[in-house]
Structures are given as C-alpha cells and as structure tokens.
Amino acid sequence: MFNGRIDFLASRSGFILSMVLLCAATLMAAYAFDRSTNEILATQIELENHQTANTHSALNDLVRLTNEVLEGQSGGSEGDMLASISASVDILFVRADHMETRLENLQDLFLRDPNYVKAETMLRSGSEAVTAIRSLVDVSDQALSAENPLAAFQTAALIDRVKSARRTVFRYLDETVKLEERMHARQSSQVVLLSRSTHWFLALITLAGLACLRLLRREVMARKARDQAERRADHLAYFDPVTGLANRVQFQDRVDAFLATGSNGALILVDLDGFKEINDRHGHIVGDDVLKHVGRTIRAEAEANLGIAARLGGDEFAVFLETDSTAFLKTFCMALISECARPIQFGEDRVTPGISVGLATTTQLSGADTPRLDDLMRVSDFALYASKSAGRGQYTLYDSDLERAFKERRRLMKDLPRAILQGELEVFLQAKVDLQSARVKGFEALVRWRRDGTILPPADFIQIAEESGRIIDIDRYILDTVVEIIANWNRRYSTDFSVSVNLSGLHFRREESLSFVTDALARHGLPPELLTLEITETVQLANWEQVGQSVSELRSRGCRISIDDFGTGYSSLAYLRTISADELKIDKSLIAEIETSDEAHLILDAVLDLARGLGLEVVVEGVERPEQRDILCKLGCTNGQGFLFDRPKPAKDALAGVTFTEEIPPQKASSA
C-alpha cells in the first residue's frame, strides 16, 4: 500500500504534484514567517524607538520649560531668560509636531491589520497630548509677546496648560506601555504559532525526505538486481550452466579469435559413450553428474595444457589446444580417455563413463588461409564418427581417407531407400549342408546390393541400414522375396528346401510388428517350419523379456528360431536362457581358429555340449577347408556352411544348382 503511494510520487504527475505542494508549503511558511517578523519588528521599532522616546522627551521638554520659567523668577538677564524660555517653547512646538507625525505613522501601521491589537485608546491619548502641548505653546507664545513676559508665565491659565500637558503626555506614555504589553502577549502567541508551524513544516520536510530516500533505496536495489540479472544472463550466454564450461558461443569466439592470428591448433571433439543409456538407466540427475564429472576432467586436462574446454551441447564436449603436434595430441587423447573412464559411485550404482574422441589440426586443413572453428569442426566430426563406429573409448586423428569413407557412407545412406524401391536389392542364397554327406539341407538368404554395376556385400551397407532404421524395410523385403522364391520353387519342383533369414534386433522393439513374417508365409504358402529366423544379439536387444515374448510368438506360429553369430559380440549364456531357440549358429571366428587354438577347440566342445543339453541344433559357419570339416565332424557337428561347400549365389542359380544335380535331370533344368 505504502509502496504503491511511493510509486505514485515517482510518476510524472506525482512528481509535479508533490513538487508543487512542497514549493507551496515552503512559500506559505516563508510568507507567514516574513509577515510575522516584519510586523513584530515594525511595531516594536515604532513603539519603543519613537512613541516611548517621544513621550519621555515630551515630559523632559515640559520640565525644561518649567525650569526656565523658575530660573526667570530667580533673577538674571531678562533677555537671556526670555531667549531660553522661547527656545523651550520652540522645542515643545517641534515635539508636538513630531508626536503628531509619529502617531500618524503608528495609525497607518495598525490600520494595515485592524484585528492586530486595539490601539484606539493609545492613539486617542496621543492626540490629546499633542493638543495639550499645542495649547501650551499657543499660551506661551502669547505670554512671550506680552508686555511683561515673565509675569505672563505666572498666570493660572499657563500653569493649567502645563499641568494638562504633563497629565496627557503621561497618560499617553502609560497607554503606550500598556499597548506594548498587549503586543508582547500577542507576539508570544505568535511565536508559539510560529514554532508549531515550524515543527509541522519540518515534519513535512522530513516525511518528504524519507519518501525520497526510500525511493532512492528502491532505485538502487532495483539497479543492483538488474546488474545481477545482467551478469547472470551474460554468464548464461557464454557458459554452460551444467558443467560451468564455456558454451559453444564462447568457444567459437575464442577459437576463431585465436585462429584469426594465423597460428596452428587442434580441435578435439569428445563424445560421451552411451550417455542415453546412462540417462535411461540411472535418471537425469546421475546423467548430469556424469556430465559434470567428464566436464571437470576435460577442463582439468585442457587447462593443464593451456587449452580451452567447452561443452557444445548434449553429450558433446570439445577441447582446443594451441598445437598441431600429432604425437603430443595422441598422448593427450589417451590421457583424456583414461582419465574420463574412472568409475563414479552413485550410492549403490557405479557408472563408468567412456568417451570417444575425434581430432583434427589446422595443418590438416587445406584451402582456407585462416581456418575457422567450423572448418575444424567439420573434419573432426569425421574422426569422431570413425571413433564411435570403431567402438568405445577410441580416438581417431582425421585424415582424408576417413572423410572419403564417411562421404561414401553418407551416399549409401541416401541411396538406400531408392535401392529398396527400385529393386536393386537382390537375394543370394548360401547352402546349409550336412557336414558328413555334403547334402544340402537348406539355404541362408543373404542380401546383395546391385549398385551402379557393382554388387555390394552386406558388410558395406547393413550397418548403415541398422543405424538409419532402413534395415526394417530391407529385412521385410528380403524375407518376403525369399519366402516367395522358396515357396514357388518347392511347389514347382516338389522340393522341401528350408531357408534362414536374418532379422535385425530392431524388429524386437516394442513398436515394431512381426506380423509381416506370418503374412509372407501365408501369402506365398510356405510351411512355417521351413523358415528359420536368425537373430543376432545386439545392443538393441537389451529388453530380453520383450524379445523373448516376440520370439515365443513366432515359434508358436511354427517358425524356427536361430541364434546367429554365437561366440561373438554380446552373446551370453543368459541370452540362451531367455530366448527359446531351435538352432545355434556358431560364428566363423571360432571355426577359423579351430585347427590352431586349443582354447577355440575347447570352447567349441563346450558350446556343443551346451547346445545338446538345451536341445538346440548346431550349425557352424565359415567352413573353408576339409581339415576344419573333419575336426568339426569329430566334435559331433552335423550342419555347416562355408566356401568349402558353396559360395552365396543368386537365388535361382543356387536353387537350380542343388535341385538339378541331386534330383532333376540336367536337361530338364536347361529347359526350365
């Protein structure tokens, strides 16, 4: 409420109003002071200096005349005496004249304010005194011009005039004194009034002063708050609020300023590995703590080497160092990776952050005279991408091959949708055989991309397809195509070939539907038991219950389930327990070492035991030499695939090759 009124004072109209009021109050007070003081002074001077003095002098003048007359009686030179008496009369004459003038003055003074004090009695007694003195002067003048002046001054009439003059003058004096007393009384009350109004006026001024001080204080506080907010805004504009590191804007400014001098430097991009998983698993608070921890580590390492550390956003950090020595930079990156990898304890949880690093130096940039951060950022990104692709906790120094590979990948990614739509993807089949008899039991469907006249193997584009999610469409297309080919072939040539199709882990995410499998089987009329779905355990299969459920559903429709690439990557025993599979495919990396490594031999033996125990059929991949086949047979493996038996071929060729050598006469095949 009070503040609201104070605010009104600060407004334009409030300010003017209060100023006008204040000025008016000051002027009124000053006028009242001035008027009172002037009145008091003028009246006091008039009464004390003139009226009282006048009456005293008049009494003195009367006594002088009486004295001169008395002296005249006591003898002496008559001429001298008459001169003295005449002078005394003259003095009385002037006195009367003077008294009259002063009385007129006083009257003017009182007339100015009729309510001031009642002065009529005093003024009346004054004019009576003047009249009495004048009358005395007249009679004295007559006496002076008489024949015997000295005798003439003895007459009763003259003595009477002297008495009357003395009485009236004394009364005048008495009235003057009384008037003075009345005036003093009045002045006293005037002084009380003045002092009271002074107090009020001072109180008013004090209040105004307080209001001003309060306004001033509010203004100062507001300015302080504004300054603080501005400083905070400045900080926010140039610093990352979570880690306290420089943000992208500040980093860009400082690095560009440095690069503008023409000096060489290196940009190190740092990406936190699996940050999304950390957030998902532990929550955002832990996520932020991990960011802070990594931020602190990066900052310490950067500042120890006189560099600038920044958080560019999300889980991306950057360091700029003023050097282009690759040997130094490599040491720096290794130290950075190992420092960041220190585990952090959160209550019972333990998080081990990992980082991937990509770096580039200005000397690697050709073209631009003075490279900018954006140029460095672009090439460092290739290096970072390469590090992330290669796995976690890696650093990569940019080179132009990396950039070429990256661009190629980007082109592939761009072309993938077209490949599916325009039928550039082709199904190849690789036979799955009985190791002992080499009899073909079925096929594994493999995809090839016939692109601009060359045939790309899956290794060149499946990872890109996985990353971009295109793998879903590719898998559907391949499954549908191969089911159709096999179903038609089996129908036409009365064969019962089975086929294995790879399914990406992405199909087992909650939002994906696997109904396309049963749809394809129904549409093309392939018995479900002839279709094996090969699943590779990947990071996408983190939710095993979800995967187990989907797999069980496919099995209940009659499809067979194969666990692919067993013995590599993420494969674990828990995986085997969760997923009810029919088949286990052992990865070729294990087979490749089977002749030379006792460990591989032992592991394979154990896995076969395990598979037998779980009732899983085993298929070995990558059998390339007869010696490998013999060992595998000895270990009890029955099924396998590999170059020893068959290379992947276009579907029709593969089917024809098997069908017509084993069961159909060649001439019939040529007519087909």
């Binding site: 200096n49 002098s57 003048d61 001169a83 003259d90 003095i91 002037v94 003038t101």
Partner: protein
C-alpha cells in the same frame, strides 16, 4: 577658530570627485548630492554648535561661524517635510576634518532638547551629511527643526541601511567623540 584652506580645497576636490562617481554610479544619489554654493552672509537665529575633542574645552560655532566652511546645497524632503526644501550649510565631514575627527570611529551628537545619537564613521562615509543653517534661503528656525540641523538626502536615509532617521539630528548643540 582655525581653518586649513589647503585641506578644505582638497576636500572640495574630493567631494566633487565623489559627486562625479555618484553621478555615474547612482543617478538618484548624484541628483541629491550636495552642490557647492556661495552664500551671502545673513543674520541667523541665536544658536551654538560645540565640537569637543578629548578633555579640552570645545570649539563653539554660531551658524555664521559654520558658514565659513565650504557651503553646499541639498534639495530634499525630510521625514517631517512632505514637500522638498532647499537646505544650505556645510558638510559634517569638513567640520570633523577641521577637528581631526574624520577617522574617529564614531561621534556622539547631542541636541538642545537633550536628544543624543551616535553617528559611526561608516554613516558619514556612506552619505553626505549636511550641517544645515539655512532653509529655502532663510535662516533656519527652531520651529523648523533648526537653527542647526543634520540633513541627509532622502534617497540615502531610505536607501542605505546604515543611515537612519535617528542621524537626522535637529537643534544640534554638541559634537563629541564617543559612543
């Protein structure tokens, strides 16, 4: 009575110069500044002005004696005259100079009616004080506040705060050093 003519001549020059300064500085004061005038001798009313310096018995001047100093004329009103009158007489400063009182801090003037007043040096330095012996060409009478009256141009006792009505002594009788 002793008169130093050289000094009186100097004083004349001084007053002329002062009058010129006043003329160029303050037009109103200059118009009322005392003008030197030659006065024919005349029969005055009987009166005396005694100047007392120290313990020595004073010098007594009759109006005619006073007029042996350089004489001046002022036309002015007084608090008791509504119409301006022409006052003639001598300058108080000349009289004081003749008695070596020009540098005195103050003098006390007593009138025939026992009225006394103190005139400080700054008063006679601020305004010309005429010791008038004649009014409108006639000898000054007692009933006209004579025969010897101190007159200051009206502008000065109204305009200057140091000069007041109390300095306009009428029936002047004694000048002495003191306060």
């Amino acid at each position: 009575m002793h008169l130093d003519f050289a000094e009186s001549f100097d004083m004349k020059i001084f007053h002329t110069a002062a009058a010129c300064c006043l003329y160029f500085g303050l037009a109103t004061s200059a118009m009322a500044a005392p003008k030197p005038v030659d006065l024919a001798p005349m029969h005055h009313m009987e009166a005396q002005l005694e100047v007392r310096v120290g313990d020595r018995s004073g010098t007594t001047y009759e109006p005619a004696d006073l007029e042996s100093f350089p004489t001046y004329r002022i036309e002015t009103t007084t608090p008791w005259r509504e119409e301006p009158a022409v006052f003639e007489g001598i300058l108080l400063t000349d009289l004081l100079a003749a008695h070596g009182l020009l540098d005195a801090p103050s003098i006390r003037v007593t009138a025939e009616n026992d009225y006394t007043t103190v005139i400080t040096r700054e008063v006679w330095e601020a305004a010309p004080i005429l010791v008038a012996t004649r009014v409108d060409g006639r000898p000054h009478s007692r009933r006209d506040r004579g025969p010897i009256q101190f007159v200051v141009p009206a502008e000065d006792y109204v305009g200057l705060s140091v000069v007041t009505e109390s300095h306009l002594v009428w029936m002047a009788a004694v000048i002495e050093v003191g306060n």
